[in-house]
Subunit: 195 residues, 2 copies
DNA sequence: TTTGTTTTGGAATGAACGTTCCAATATTAT
DNA sequence: ATAATATTGGAACGTTCATTCCAAAACAAA
């Protein structure tokens, strides 16, 4: 009997995410979101509770897309070291290809909101820890095979890669210079070289 | 004959900066700024034109303070390598000591505003280039004395340090774990080691 | 003290904000 | 077709926003 939902929730989240991503949370108005999604205010509030709820869900979808994209987009059969290199290079390409210089949505959310908004802080920490575990597993594997240096502990290297990955994205957002970004990736990853 | 200004402009900028730093540009209201500075709306608008003008001046003051603090706070007579270490360690201490987790004001400004606001983007790039030149001079000096490896060009290492420095600050803002931050500094700077 | 000028507090303004609300609409099961 | 129910568009609400404005106050020079 009931009328069925007229829109695809995941698609709406993507559109909302793009606006939030480009303008930030506070600079995005509900009018912007109504325009971008094509939905009416009623439908947005009915589905996502409020602006904050919509933002959180958009951010979660982004993080899930990123996480899934990591393994699905990556060529199969790469060695641990090559996986890391592929990830850094993909980030460089993405930064250089974005005419809006939006940077990383998770990173932007962290700096704009995390210190005042525990809900966002939680997502940021969760994402950081997910990346750390991913790096950690690759590094351990690489150290076991001898592809990655054992001069530092796997955990310490994972911390370093996490930081480097963020630094790379930040520099790319500030001044997208491909040569500089290549330098950064090259030197950041040089600590993986076995002796 | 005229009445003289009743307040110290630099002090007002500091107070405004602290609010902007903690809450971000868009989440800070003029009411917040009136309260924090103790000035009336008239005085603020008369002196700084508008909210945006006040923000830009606060950001410029911050960047100038940072730049000057680099050389004035640093112990004299350090070797290039030790200067870099001191800088990274100082950043770690600052992050761990801030109960508000505000992060770096320049970095926050960049991610919140730079892609939509050319004025802010200009400041961000200027700051990035200033840091790059600083690192570059230290690295060249260290490479000349043999304290720093010549395996990479000074410019490439400068790019790397710039990125690492930003990555460190971002991780510290997301999850201030002293051991992890120490790992990051240690490994990021290990590329300086001569063979 | 008086004069000339600037600063200042605080009220006022109009636009924009997030959110609520409801009548009209659309859809499915009967 | 009809009934039942959820969705929808858009008007309306009260707040908060950045900014303007002006009379009153404060100060320096005469």
């Amino acid at each position: 009997m009931p009328k069925t939902k007229q829109f695809d929730e995941a698609l709406v989240l993507q559109k909302a995410r793009d606006v939030f991503w480009k303008k930030g949370y506070n600079a995005t108005s509900m009018d912007d979101l109504v325009q971008a999604t094509g939905l009416s205010r009623s439908s947005i509030y009915d589905t996502f509770t409020d602006k904050h709820g919509l933002y959180v869900q958009a951010l979660q979808q982004y993080q899930e897309f990123q996480r899934v994209g990591l393994t699905s987009d990556m060529p199969k059969g790469l060695s641990p070291r090559k996986k890391i290199e592929w990830l850094f290079n993909k980030s460089i390409s993405a930064s250089m290809a974005d005419p809006d210089r939006k940077g990383c949505f998770m990173l932007n959310s962290t700096t704009e909101l995390a210190n005042m908004d525990p809900r966002i802080s939680k997502e940021a920490v969760k994402n950081l820890e997910m990346m750390e575990l991913l790096f950690l597993s690759w590094i351990k594997e690489g150290q076991a095979s001898g592809e990655i240096s054992k001069k530092f502990t796997a955990k310490a290297i994972a911390h370093h890669l996490n930081s480097s990955f963020n630094g790379l994205k930040l520099v790319a957002q500030t001044k997208p210079d491909k040569d500089a970004l290549r330098d950064i990736a090259k030197i950041s990853l040089s600590v993986l070289d076995p002796d």
